[in-house]
Subunit: 235 residues, 2 copies
Amino acid sequence: MKNILLASTSTVYGSSYLEYLLAELQLHFKNCNTLLFIPYARPGGITHDEYTAKVALAFAKINIAVKGIHEFENPVEAIQNAEGIFTGGGNTFVLVSQLYKNQLMEVIAQKLKSGTPYLGTSAGSNIAGLTIQTTNDMPIVYPPSFQSLGMIPFNLNPHYIDTDGTANHMGETREDRIKEFHEFNSIPVLGLREGSWLDIKGDSIVLKGNLKARLFRQNQQAEELESGTDLRFVK
Amino acid sequence: MKNILLASTSTVYGSSYLEYLLAELQLHFKNCNTLLFIPYARPGGITHDEYTAKVALAFAKINIAVKGIHEFENPVEAIQNAEGIFTGGGNTFVLVSQLYKNQLMEVIAQKLKSGTPYLGTSAGSNIAGLTIQTTNDMPIVYPPSFQSLGMIPFNLNPHYIDTDGTANHMGETREDRIKEFHEFNSIPVLGLREGSWLDIKGDSIVLKGNLKARLFRQNQQAEELESGTDLRFVK
């Protein structure tokens, strides 16, 4: 039975790394003494070691020891043996390329289906959807595929924002971009605002946090969903 | 000798489609009675016909007849026979996928090297760089490669904007994203603000319009370049 948290962001404005989620994470990882961290998304290009140290600092507050997957000789075994897994944000293309390179995509999917608790933030949440095609990130590396873990039957758009840029900027808004996605794809997309997360327990997919989320479906009007909504109906 | 205009955007705030460029385009395409339009980027998912009609309306003002490449049975021949070429904006991934599908990338590159006047706006400018890895667009389709025409020895970031979103949004700024690109790639990137364009004549690559452009190079401080600067030094 799946046991997965997918957060829009690791950090909300005015608060430290993972701070707003810590109480939730304490419950989520209550049976874990150790956590396997996947630092592959390398936000701002920081090293795997630097990123893992940052995460370890946050999880020390709830007495969970963190080890980066790059510290293991065999990453496949590291996944298989993990008590809990966290994939941090950064660049989704870099993350997915590295997951494919190390042949981890299927291994992680199997592991999560077996009930190992998982946390994703930003890019780490993005990869839980069917594809990474609704990421906000720049395609700074070329991955072998845009397919991802498929832990939910739709795609996510993390860091969802109602307008982009300044009012007189002619670039597309986030909503424009997601609508464009639906000109070419039928997969539903959930725009997850910063401070929101999905709590997946088995088949239920509940929207958590104080904010609404915005659901986009092909050929339908976008819809605002209240916190507490079970999204299992979205397919 | 190359004869290429690469604009950040087709449309500046408060003005109609291509309006701010029309005087320049009249000069640029002065020897053309007809223009071949590449509508593949399909902004907002509009059809090739709809997009071509919009472009035809703008070019009618300077007495140039426009035909979409999709109207030709053989798109390779359409390129080879074109008097002038315009690739419009939209989604860069969709555009590049279609160019590869129709085996046009190399044909267009050769044609432009021979001196056929070209205009690109937004995605149509992006593809003139070495790769599309600094596009702002969502990866809504999976192209066979991120390599593009290589008409300039660097990459472009069209619609460059100094800040993204609202001040308390935690998503990356445009500058953050380009810096992240340089953690993994050495290709220089020019952030081209809306209202700026590059005027390429042979080896010279002159920044035009009223605004500065922002040049990013790996392991160097970003730099503001004045309008009128010849960018041939950027490699």
